[in-house]
């Protein structure tokens, strides 16, 4: 079965792909933090963050259509916020839109959520799409993210599709026997499927552990490659971080 990996474009060749995962992680997280802490009244710091993100995205050679479809994940959340905008009446002048009216502060809330969500999500998409998953995890480890989290994430990346495949096969076998959803016993069959999926995963975990033990695994995860940060990594990291922080600090002084 064919699956869409989060690091599908991670092996393209571009200046962004070539950067050390740590440099990318730090630079992009600085943008995110600067962005979400900026008050929404001023639009121009967001223009700075947006420009930074656009420049990096452009340099990364990720297909635009791919970026756009990935950004769509924030849409449901924005819609939820948008639905409530007409009910926020306090603050600022109101604008009459026929069926309902919106206040300036209501729109500000929407703008705030929208711009911050989109910039943050694009940052994360760039990070996860330009770095092979294993390198990303190793980068996180070097940044002192606990081994437990990176190991669990690495196992999940490896096995989630096998579990999805298993579920898919089970579903096909079930549907081939003319299963049709009727309320009560529908739920029961789904329950059985989840239970059996859990059992299978449990058994697989057991076998994977045996296979690891057979190769001398004693509970500590061995590492051997040491990646180095080069001048270009430092330049990128400091240039991006400094620009984002400058944008954030400028708001304080004006």
């Amino acid at each position: 079965m064919k699956h869409d990996f989060i690091d599908r474009y991670a092996r393209l060749e571009s200046p962004v792909h070539a950067l050390d995962p740590r440099a990318k992680t730090i630079a992009l997280f600085v943008i995110i933090i600067a962005c979400v802490t900026t008050p929404p009244q001023d639009w121009w710091p967001f223009a700075i963050y947006g420009a930074l993100v656009l420049i990096i995205a452009n340099a990364s050679k990720l297909p635009t259509s791919y970026l756009l479809t990935r950004v769509l994940v924030v849409l449901p959340f924005l819609l939820v916020v948008a639905v409530f905008v007409p009910f926020m009446h306090e603050g600022g002048p109101t604008f009459d839109l026929g069926l309902f009216s919106v206040s300036r502060d209501g729109l500000l809330v929407l703008w705030n959520v929208t711009v911050k969500a989109i910039i943050s999500v694009v940052c994360l998409i760039i990070l996860s799409s330009t770095t092979p998953f294993s390198d990303l995890m190793r980068g996180f480890e070097r940044l002192h993210v606990p081994h437990f989290f990176t190991t669990v994430a690495a196992f999940m990346y490896r096995y989630v599709f096998i579990i999805v495949d298993e579920a898919e096969r089970m579903k096909r076998a079930r549907d081939s026997r003319n299963f049709r959803a009727r309320w009560l016993w529908h739920a029961r069959v789904i329950g059985y499927m989840i239970a059996s999926l859990f059992m299978r995963s449990q058994e697989r975990a057991e076998r994977v552990y045996q296979a690891m033990s057979a190769r001398g695994f004693d509970g500590t995860y061995p590492r051997w490659t040491e990646s180095k940060m080069f001048a270009a990594d430092y330049v990128f990291m400091f240039a991006v971080a400094a620009t984002a922080i400058a944008g954030r600090l400028a708001v304080l002084w004006t």
Binding site: H3, F5, R11, P132, F133, S134, M137, A154, F155, Y157, R158, Y159, F161, I162, R204, R207, V208, Q210, A211, M212, S213, A214, R215, G216, F217, D218, P222, R223, W224, T225
Partner: protein, 241 residues
């Protein structure tokens, strides 16, 4: 005394080994077996005969009553590291064996656990991948590979540890005919004492020097492949044809 001196030609010595599963089901019933160095022994038998259970005793993943010795070293907690360096187990489902995000990390896993230096690990990885004809796959994710490719990489993950003894659990099950043929040829080129668990008669005939038939947790016959594979009555009685 921990180590019983025996002739170094004996790779595996199993004396009166019994094992019951936690639920009480008896999986092995006083098994005795000696495998000499550089021998290739086929272990045949129907499903549930105890073949895989026996294999898991060879490096101490399971431990029952009785004695198991690898190259003269008793398999017990104290010796596990040495034993696991000497016995390479290739599991049936390559998705169980390959758990790392990239092929390279998986092949390096054993050597890293052996605490080799980075250069030695690199060397072991490239040599093992070359041996199974999978050079250039270092950075691929195991999930992207075909079944046959995964099987080869699984073999490489054990070869990289340079084991004296290779235990292959159902090495060619679920493979297409060409993949099967190529894999059998590959197994034949491995320089190690080999234990091949299978119910593939043709493969047994091709690669094995000796065949042991197991049924219901016991060894029922031990002989030359051509004799056993032509004994219809025996094969039928133990569900092999």
């Amino acid at each position: 005394m921990d180590v019983i001196p025996i002739a170094p030609q004996v790779a595996i010595r199993i004396v009166d080994l019994s094992y019951s599963y936690p639920d009480g089901r008896r999986a092995l019933n006083s098994v005795n077996l000696i495998v000499h160095r550089d021998e290739t022994v086929g272990i045949m038998g129907p499903n549930g005969a105890g073949k895989s259970t026996l294999a898991l005793h060879l490096n101490g993943i399971l431990s029952g009553q009785g004695l198991v010795e690898i190259m003269g070293l008793e398999v017990k907690k104290k010796n596990l590291r040495e034993v696991r360096n000497m016995v390479g187990l290739v599991f049936q489902d390559p998705d169980d064996q390959l758990f790392s995000p990239t092929v390279k990390e998986d092949v390096a896993f054993g050597p890293l656990n052996q605490r080799l230096s980075p250069e030695q690990v690199d060397h072991a990885v490239s040599r093992a991948l070359a041996w199974v004809g999978m050079e250039g796959f270092e950075d691929r994710s195991p999930f992207h590979l075909s079944f046959g490719e995964k099987k080869r990489i699984s073999l490489a993950t054990v070869l990289s540890m340079h084991p004296e003894i290779m235990v292959l659990d159902e090495p060619v099950s679920n493979m297409d005919p060409r993949g099967r043929r190529e894999f059998i040829e590959l197994i034949d080129t491995l320089e190690a004492t080999k234990l091949v668990i299978t119910h593939d008669l043709a493969m047994t005939r091709e690669v094995c020097d000796r065949v042991v038939v197991m049924d219901k947790g016991e060894i029922v016959t031990d002989g030359r492949p051509e004799d056993i594979c032509s004994d219809r009555l025996l094969l039928e009685r133990h569900g092999l044809i």
